[in-house]
Amino acid sequence: METHTLSQEEHYIRREPYYEAIGDEIAIFEAAYRNKLPVLLKGPTGCGKTRFMEYMAWRLKRPLITVSCHDDLTASDLVGRYLVKGGETVWVDGPLTRAVRVGGICYLDEIVEARKDTMVVIHPLADDRRALPMEKLGQLIEAGDEFCLAISYNPGYQSVLKDLKQSTRQRFVAMEFDYPTPELERRIVANEAGVDAGLAEKLVRFAHMTRNLKGSGLDEGASTRLLVHAGKLIAGGVAPVVACQSAVAQAVTDDPDMLAAIQELSASLF
């Protein structure tokens, strides 16, 4: 097996990622990028936000540095910190700093999960200052024209405690993502999972059934990503109902009644 080790700033996307545009999001993103505006991607999980970022990074030919935010992620995790090496302290840049230095695209996924102090470094980067304060070094890095900040958040399920603040969201060009239209979704599933059009159509119908359940027991219906997973399993020889159960139903809920109901739905369809 061959693996490649790349530093984050070398992570150029060389092959065109498969991406089907839902609307005019590509034009909007490019316009925002040209005008040095930061971008906010909203939308349910698995609807293609990350893939879109990869695609744009490829299109704009910039390295993509992705940070998945979690509730322990602090400002130092983004900016950098001192480490001890051979008896001396050495400064090590964090991913955000690296992106600013090389003029890459920094994509902060699920930004609301991060600790509140991260906003201190994001805010000055996200308005017309476009500068990253590095408190511990006593420096300020001005971002070049090529740097781009993008964040994502899912307005669907986060608790009220983790809502994105107005002071943050009003700095960004916001783009809403949703599940693709059935025709498009069918094409995506067929293309990504390598299944025929008939099966892709059934999978999309199954996804719509689970999306009908949103609000009456499910927090969210099956995402396009889950459909692709199910499609891959089926293409690999797993029976459709079993594939739907393990790739989709088990992924969206733990409730036994709901699991049984989804199983009945897929069993009715296939």
Partner: protein, 702 residues
């Protein structure tokens, strides 16, 4: 094994339990029959007679007469289920119904046998309700009834489906029945003009049955296309249960299986169908109930028309705001394109030619209207004019709790909670009828007065609670962290210099302790708190809120009171999401003594509310002045204590920490039993209440 009881011994017990001195029940024959049984059987029967007698003596006597015979014939588990069923029936429908159930004991036992393999409504409903919501169309509810039918808003299933031998097959049948009833709505059967359908027919009932036959064949073909997996199950069930459909019917129905076939095609063949033999009913087809369908539709049409038009007016208004900026003159013409390809039912709305993204509720309404008409009638798309509809015409009105109590009694809109019956050693299902009510706010100087009265204490509480607040601590000498710990580094370097091993704990880490607590305060508003206690409770709450605001914990305050099980009331003083405003203060000032101290329902309801709050630790604090009690009801005494204890156990099982603060000096007799040791505080003096409550809470959550 213990010796069997003698007839005299048994008679003596029955005399007491059944109060034969007053009721003149003849217990002799029962005692005679029972004395021939072994001791285990005797104990079992006697235990149940005693338990039922706490519900009703006549019912217990009836049970006693039948029990000796039953115990010889049936399993004890089954008899127990029957006894519980008897008591439930009595709770729900009274003595007459319970005695009727007692008379049908044989039927119950037989049914019980079939239940082993049958699909019980209570088991299948949660799954099938979600199943049917997953299918496109109106969100149909599932209800229990005596037959299988649907009125287009709900699907009714019987309590048990046991036509087949295996449990899996019975479930499949239940699922097919539900899907088939859904298909009636989805594919337009329920849109039929019922009067025209049977008008002029010699035998209207038969015509309806034949029509249902035609539709059954059409819908089965629809399902075969849309849900092939389900259709396979349906065919399998048909093969098990019924004869194949004869050639005449097949010939007549063949065109109905075409993809484009509609209700009209079935209606066109009705004359021919009436000339054929009776349609051999399919096991999954259920019944058609035109009256129920028409009634539900009549109630729905105007309301949905109004709702849709009001929503469209909102959409138009929004669009107008946008347009006003660009200066164009709006005229608000909505058009809807329906997308029905591949079994979908989706709508695209355009306003003056420009597409509008319809919100989910508008889509739901369009779906429902489409199902009623097969298209969206143009008059439904005219946005409502100003004041054209009054909200009561299209909104489900929340029931005013007071009006409900005052009118002829009914339980509409109330929540039901079970209650633990000590005598029966079993829950009484849906026993407490509970409603949340508002406390009428009283805007006076009470909050200000209280803060002034306890100003020294308030200051102390504020600083005390401030100190507990989300303390961020800098942890030194960590293996990982945001910054280098210079002290540790210097030491480590010195160690390295001396040739000793260097520590790897060289960093400092900022630890952010997040207090993640939700607490519900349950305040006694019973009549006995009138006067001093009420005053002390209100003062305590003002001080408590003052302190909690410093702390940042999420908290709710509810007052409880009740008179009999039919009128259990929880008074909202502050909900979890509500900020601490002047209105909340005014509600605290407005807390007034009400009726009695029924506690179980309040604990159960607040546990439910606590469960819905996202928090790592959940606490339920009760402020009370005495033992559980209710008006002329067995709730006074051990019954109430045991029910409260059970409710607390349930809460604890749900991960809630209950705690009680009381001023009842006798509470030591029952509180340890109810709350467990160290889960309560007894205050000797009412005057201590305001000063202590916040402090107790601080210790509790420290």
């Amino acid at each position: 094994m213990a010796e069997p009881l003698t007839r005299t011994e048994i008679e003596a017990k029955l005399d007491v339990w059944l109060e034969t001195e007053f009721t003149f029940h003849q217990v002799g024959p029962t005692a005679r029959a029972l004395c021939r049984l072994g001791r285990t059987e005797q104990d079992f029967v006697l235990d149940w007679i005693k338990r039922i007698a706490t519900t009703h003596i006549t019912l217990a006597f009836d049970f006693a007469k039948r029990a000796p015979d039953l115990i010889r014939r049936f399993d004890r588990r089954v008899i127990e289920a029957w006894a519980v069923h008897l008591c439930d029936t009595y709770d729900r429908a009274g003595m007459y119904a319970a005695l009727e159930v007692a008379g049908q004991v044989g039927q119950f036992m037989r049914q019980r046998d079939s239940q082993a393999a049958g699909a019980l409504f209570e088991d299948v409903a949660p799954v099938l309700a979600n199943f049917v919501h997953g299918l496109t169309g109106r969100k149909l509810k599932l209800e229990q009834g005596e037959a299988v039918w649907s009125d287009g808003e709900k699907i009714v299933l019987p309590a048990i489906i046991a036509e087949l031998e295996g449990r899996a097959d019975n479930f499949k049948l239940a699922k097919a029945m539900v899907a088939f009833q859904w298909a009636h709505t989805r594919y337009g059967t329920l849109r039929a003009d019922w009067q025209a359908l049977t008008a002029g027919r010699a035998d209207p009932a038969r015509a309806l049955r034949q029509f249902h036959g035609l539709e059954t064949l059409r819908l089965a073909a629809c399902l075969a296309r849309e849900l092939p997996g389900l259709y396979r199950d349906m065919s399998h069930l048909s093969a098990l249960l019924e004869a194949p459909i004869d050639a005449d019917w097949q010939a007549l129905a063949a065109p109905l299986a075409e993809p484009g076939a509609t209700l009209a095609d079935s209606l066109a063949r009705l004359d021919a169908a009436c000339a054929l033999a009776d349609f051999p009913a399919r096991c999954y087809q259920g019944e058609l109930r035109p009256d129920a369908v028409a009634a539900a539709r009549a109630a729905r049409l105007d309301k949905e028309k109004a709702r849709l038009r009001v929503k469209l007016a909102d959409l138009a208004e929004e669009a107008r705001k946008h347009k006003a900026e660009s200066g164009a003159e709006p005229d608000s013409r909505f058009e809807v394109a329906t997308d029905e390809t591949d079994g979908r039912l989706d709508f695209e709305i355009t306003l003056d030619g420009a597409p509008v993204a319809p919100p989910d509720d508008v889509k739901q309404l369009l779906t429902s209207v489409h199902l009623d008409f097969g298209a969206i009638p143009p008059e439904y798309l005219v946005p409502a004019g100003d004041g054209e509809y009054d909200a009561s015409q299209y909104e489900d009105q929340p029931v005013d709790p007071d009006a409900v109590w005052q009118g002829t009694y009914h339980e509409e809109g109330a929540l039901f909670y079970p209650e633990w019956d000590l005598g029966r050693q079993h829950y009484r299902k849906n026993w407490c009828v509970m409603r949340e009510k508002e406390v009428k706010p009283v805007y006076d100087d009470f909050p200000v007065r209280t803060l002034a009265k306890y100003s020294a204490l308030v200051k102390q509480l504020r600083t005390g609670f401030e100190a507990m607040r989300d303390e961020n601590r800098l942890l030194k000498r960590q293996t990982q962290g945001d910054e280098v710990d210079l002290d540790a580094l210097v030491e480590a370097l010195a160690d390295a210099h001396d040739g000793r091993e260097m520590s790897d704990r060289l960093f400092m880490h900022m630890h952010r302790a997040e207090r993640n607590i939700a607490v519900a305060f349950m305040v006694d508003m019973s009549g006995s708190t009138r006067g001093w206690i009420n005053e002390a409770e209100r003062e305590a709450l003002i001080l408590l809120c003052e302190a909690l605001e410093r702390l940042g914990d999420r908290y709710a305050i509810y007052g409880f009171s009740g008179i009999t099980r039919k009128r259990c009331e929880l008074f909202r003083i502050k909900t979890f999401d509500e900020p601490y405003t002047d209105e909340v203060r005014a509600r605290i000032a407005g807390i007034a003594a009400q009726e009695y101290t029924r506690m179980g329902f309040a604990i159960r309801h607040l546990s439910k509310l606590l469960g819905e709050v996202e928090a790592r630790t959940r606490v339920l604090v009760t402020l009370s002045d005495g033992r559980p009690d209710d008006y002329f009801d067995p709730y006074r005494g051990p019954y109430g204590i045991e029910d409260t204890r059970m409710a607390l156990l349930e809460a604890r099982r749900a991960g809630i920490h209950p705690f009680c603060i009381t001023i009842d000096k006798d509470a030591r007799d029952y509180l340890p039993h109810m709350y467990g040791p160290a889960r309560y505080v007894i205050l000797d003096d009412v005057g201590e209440l305001p000063g202590k409550v916040a402090d107790i809470y601080r210790r509790l959550t420290h």
